[in-house]
Symmetry: C2
């Protein structure tokens, strides 16, 4: 029987552990810092066993899933490097990859590492908000090392499939961080910036679905997102600059009441959005993007 | 038996007509431009009767609901002013109110007008996307004339309740347009601007829930939103300027990798969002805002 250790049972770690119940008859071990979390995890069948002591779990784990904030993950691998079972696989599930892959160089050579990013979550934190269907139909991104074994890569793919993910994308850490600055980090900055508006509390009773949707993720985990933004600052700054430019172009058209320009711009933007909504494979070029995209159904 | 005429059976008009089935035993009349819409409306029980000729419906309607784009509404009231039944009520349901209330001055003195804005919708257009539960738990905003009769105001309130709206807010057209520039129009510009990014089509496979939520409304009705933006240009320009400033402040903090500043800003924004999420009445001052807020449950 394989053993999977989940280090950190918060929103993501808890949801992963719940979702991986029944995966290839594995035993799920939880490693947490607080007794209250341990008690909750056991009483809610989040894991099969739980400990506060990494030395009790890591040496027997075939797979260790690190589910903490980015800097904690880097520190944890360094501090516990000699506890991981030789030949075992360590993965993380956080929102940046370059700094994590670099941090994983602290692991012994006998321990494999694959960066993982299941693209799901909610605006809540903590094990009490975890739920096993979180990853259904989500994209699963992985950044293996050049030396990662085919067996470990195949294992991660089976885990992603068990989670219910829609597809798996294999890419480089740098490409991941560059694109995620746009698709994820920018959305969080936009949501936060909308909530900074001086009129926020005057608008109660005037919100529709679009306001709720755009601002939803503003209720974020401040510590984690501060790390994510800081550790990906160059890519995020660049994306923010482009967003400012694109917003500004709309403002100029509106300020000038330039009906033709507003119409042309909305035609352009809405057609791009509709093209994005089309089903089918990604529109990027595989060669150009250094990305291989594989359907789980193949 | 009262008769309600719905002029325009698109996404909103169709949904309203479906939702008002069974309202106080009213007969629902549809007034449309295309035979195909008329056929669809009858065969899908959107209305009880339908005509292409306003002169067949308006003179017998006790309430006329104008469900077209803003400029069409203004033109329609002017062109058909003598068709509305004396003593009847005309309402609209579009996203701006100042220009509409002004346009309604073209109606005869014997015809009452109340501006209405049920805060719901989807990114789709057309009767085939209409559904009767669209307005459930939505805010319903109304801008009556100073001369609107208590009976007509009470009738609109009962209609809003039948639609399933969460609450009704009575305000002035100017206040409506100023707040809606923020809660609705800005969200649409933000969604469109995100889709203008050069990386849009490179990001397939990297989108999470936040990306889908923020960009959802970018697939908008170009003609209608061009009118809404143009007719509310001063308020929207001002809101866009503030959004640019708030985004820019985030960019500066990120560019400088100013961890403390990023943390402080995210703390501020996320606390504001959580405060907005709290249940309970609006946090604005009634006197200051010239707004009265009434629970339908009272």
């Amino acid at each position: 029987m394989k053993k999977i250790a989940f280090v950190g049972l918060g929103l993501i770690g808890g949801s992963l552990a719940m979702a991986l119940k029944g995966f290839e008859d594995c035993q799920r071990l939880g490693v947490v810092r607080r007794q209250a979390t341990a008690d909750y995890a056991l009483s809610h069948d989040v894991v099969d066993a739980v400990t506060l002591d990494p030395a009790e779990a890591l040496p027997q784990a075939d797979v260790t899933v690190l589910c903490m904030d980015p800097r904690q993950i880097v520190d944890y691998m360094k501090r516990n490097r000699d506890l991981f079972q030789p030949g075992s696989l360590v993965v993380d599930v956080c929102g940046i990859k370059t700094a994590i892959m670099k941090g994983a160089e602290a692991l012994p050579e006998t321990v494999d590492f694959i960066g993982c990013h299941p693209m799901a979550g909610t605006e809540f934190s903590g094990i009490e908000h975890a739920f096993p269907t979180m990853f259904r139909d989500a994209h699963f991104i992985m950044t293996p090392r050049a030396t990662s074994t085919p067996e470990h890569i195949a294992l991660v793919r089976r885990m992603a499939k068990h989670l219910g993910c829609k597809d798996i994308i294999t890419t480089t850490p740098e490409k991941h961080d560059s694109i995620i600055a746009y698709t994820s980090q920018l959305m969080h900055v936009v949501a936060a910036a909308v909530c900074d508006d001086v009129d926020l509390f005057q608008c109660r009773g005037f919100e529709g679905g679009s306001f709720r949707d755009v601002t939803r993720v503003a209720a974020l985990d401040v510590d984690m997102w501060t790390e994510l933004f800081t550790m990906n600052a160059p890519a995020l700054s660049e994306v923010l600059r482009r967003m400012e430019d694109n917003l500004h172009a709309y403002r100029v058209a509106v300020e000038n009441r330039d009906v033709e320009r507003i119409h042309a711009k909305l035609t352009y933007s809405s057609e791009r959005k509709r093209r994005m909504n089309l089903p089918g494979p990604g529109q990027f070029s595989l060669d150009e993007m250094e990305i291989s995209r594989d359907s789980l159904e193949q």
